[in-house]
Amino acid sequence: MKLKKALCVALTAALAVTAFAGCGSKPSDQENAGGSSPDAAAGTEASGADTAGGTIKIGGIGPLTGGAAVYGIAVKNGAELAVKEINEAGGIGGMQVEINYQDDEHDAEKAVNAYNTLKDWGAQAILGAVTSAPCVAVGGVAQEDNIFMLTPSGTAVDCVKYDNAFRVCFSDPMQGVESAKYIGDHGLATKVAAIYDSSDVYSTGIYQAFAQEAENQDFEIVAAEAFTAESKSDFSVQLQKAKDAGAELVFLPFYYSEASLVLKQAAGMDYKPTFFGCDGMDGILAVQGFDAALADNLIFLSPFTPTSDDPAIQKFVTDYQTAYGETPNQFAADAYDGMYAIKAAMEDGNVTSDMSPSDICEAMKASMVNITIDGVTAKNLTWEASGEPSKEPMVVKIANGDYAVVDDADAEGAAADGAADDAAESVIGTEAAAE
């Protein structure tokens, strides 16, 4: 027993020592660790070669393990792709970019740990966190340290509560309201059912805003059914209730992995309403083994479609596929745009690599409202001081196993709203007639 205790103490001591040692030697450790991914290695090499402008350090936070890993990994890949491009094109104002991406396991507490790890590493701005609850938690500490934070995909309202936080994606209420308006304006249905994940921040956030806006619209929510993280393999009851209530449209404000199951089970019970989703639906056609015919006529709001003709999007999609062997989803696209937004804001604010994170934050806060990005998730993407992006959602409809942008006018983001609505109405009209 003696030995065991001695060992325990020794182990604790060893851990503690490593932890302290970590504070001094962290940067080099992290560089070595990051060496496993080609882009980080490229960034490091480049920074060695080009010392004139120095190196700017960007930290990323997101889930790389656990049930939400798929989103975190997409963001990591999207951000690293952008960093690689930026470095090849000469960096940000001559400075090379280095990105270090830390795992938060989709947990608020672990996200704060990841944030602190990045702080030790010397991160000068944060691209994260990916999911909502961790993002709110990181926001709380990042605000105290006054570090600039841009979340690619944290949709909850509180994600951008503080003035140092901005986001690339749409917020939950905005998506809920836009969805309800779209359904109402285009007369897609009079009886609507909603199925949402009552244990998830994103899903309930959208649903609540949707239900609120629905009261002003020309349709009625006839069934609102929930599921939880613990019981998300069987949707037969929720679908049966929607069917019994005579819903012509089912609103699905959650991610595509669960949605693929909903579509399959609905097909199994011969229930064919219109399905309507939010940005989490993007990526459903990339699910390996998924029968795309099931998703026919699925409509969702999305900032991004990989099949768009736009050359910038095409380039992004091709590069992403070459690098990671899969089609990017909107998480990757948000991160890609986010990285370019950081670049633009840094250039606008004349950020240099020897500035402190707090000074950089002040400069970038002021610059974020000045910049305009022509990104893959929107053209003429700008930000308000509140942290919200101003961009128009695209309405995407899946037809013949492919994404198709319904609302062409909105996609370009240039046309006036009225014209856009007319265009969309005519498209919907023809489709309805075709049916």
Binding site: A189, T228, S236, K264, M269, G289, D291
Partner: protein, 317 residues
């Protein structure tokens, strides 16, 4: 407002439907409950068998199921094997995996001072399997193509459908249950299992190879996990490295429900759990589904503390 005629049609259809409505949806919920329950039951069979013989809760069982499903997926879409051959590959793979896990991680602890030690190791194995799958197969959801060849059964003029997966799962459950019961009652190895579960020490004195028997139990349990994995993913076709975790816990609950260690109990417990879950969602609240399931579980255990079919062993002084 573009297509009024279409909408009236839908409304009419709906009225016709609700005329039948309540009793029809009740039956439909019931069938769905049994389908869900049969998946829990087939997982619970593996749990309960290992518990009965080795007296340990194998928390990694759900993850062996996930590995089994990935192996089938990889051998169908990667190596181009026909579904049945893929299932066979998966059964063999999981059996070997089960034996390896048992001999490396569990056997050294079977005689440890506390039975909790092996439970914690099982949790470690569960994390390990999840992370190995994450590294090999990635985090992306895979929509598992059903390999069940049975078509859906339409009843009452199409108002009710029983999916082919549900029929096959229930059939498999019953076959496996009968097979296991016969194996344990009739074969020599099965008798040895019974003896080990009664009293390890005495069994050893009678010349039974205790370690071999326990390894055999794990082998059978893991082979069942491969079958369960295929059926789980055929019925609910999303596969991620974390697919096995939650059904694993639910199946554990089902096994306790039925009386842990009892093979018919696992079947009854699983089906009851599925039916309660679906009815709870349908008639009480879909938000509270978990709370309802677990609430019923507590009530049943308070009334029958050893589960539905469990033996209540009297303590002797």
């Amino acid at each position: 407002m573009k297509n009024p005629s279409g909408r009236t049609y839908a409304a009419e259809g709906n009225e016709k439907y609700t005329g039948w409505g309540n009793s029809m949806s009740f039956i439909s919920y019931f069938i769905n409950g049994i389908s869900l329950g049969s998946v829990y039951a087939i997982i619970a069979l593996g749990y309960t068998m290992v518990y009965g013989i080795a007296k340990m809760l194998n928390f990694a069982h759900g993850d062996v199921i996930m590995i089994g499903a990935y192996v089938v997926m990889a051998s169908v879409s990667g190596a181009g094997l026909p579904p049945f051959a893929a299932l066979l590959v998966s059964v063999v793979f999981c059996t070997v995996l089960g034996i390896v896990i048992e001999s490396v991680a569990y056997r050294p602890l079977l005689n440890a001072a506390s039975s909790l030690a092996v439970l914690i190791t099982a949790i470690g194995v569960s994390y390990l399997l999840q992370n190995i799958a994450l590294l090999i197969f990635g985090a992306n959801t895979i929509s598992f193509a059903s390999i069940v060849p049975v078509p859906a059964l339409a009843l009452a003029g199409g108002a009710l459908t029983v999916t082919g997966e549900a029929i096959v799962t229930i059939a498999c459950c019953i076959v496996i249950m009968i097979g296991l019961t016969l194996f344990i009652r009739k074969s020599k190895a099965g008798q040895a299992m019974l003896a080990v579960s009664e009293d390890k020490g005495a069994a050893q004195l009678m010349g039974i190879n205790v370690n071999g028997t326990i390894a055999l139990t794990f082998a059978i349990g893991s082979a069942l996990a491969a079958v369960a994995g295929v059926l789980l993913c055929s019925a609910y076709p999303t596969l991620t490295p974390y697919t096995g975790a939650m059904p694993g816990i639910k199946a554990f609950v089902a096994a306790v429900f039925g009386g842990i260690g009892s093979i018919p109990g696992a079947l009854i417990g699983g089906i009851l759990l599925g039916v309660i879950e679906i009815f709870g969602k349908a008639y009480i609240s879909s938000q509270m589904a978990d709370a309802i399931v677990f609430g019923v579980l507590i009530v049943i255990l308070l009334v029958k503390p050893a589960g539905i079919l469990g033996k209540n062993i009297q303590e002797k002084v």
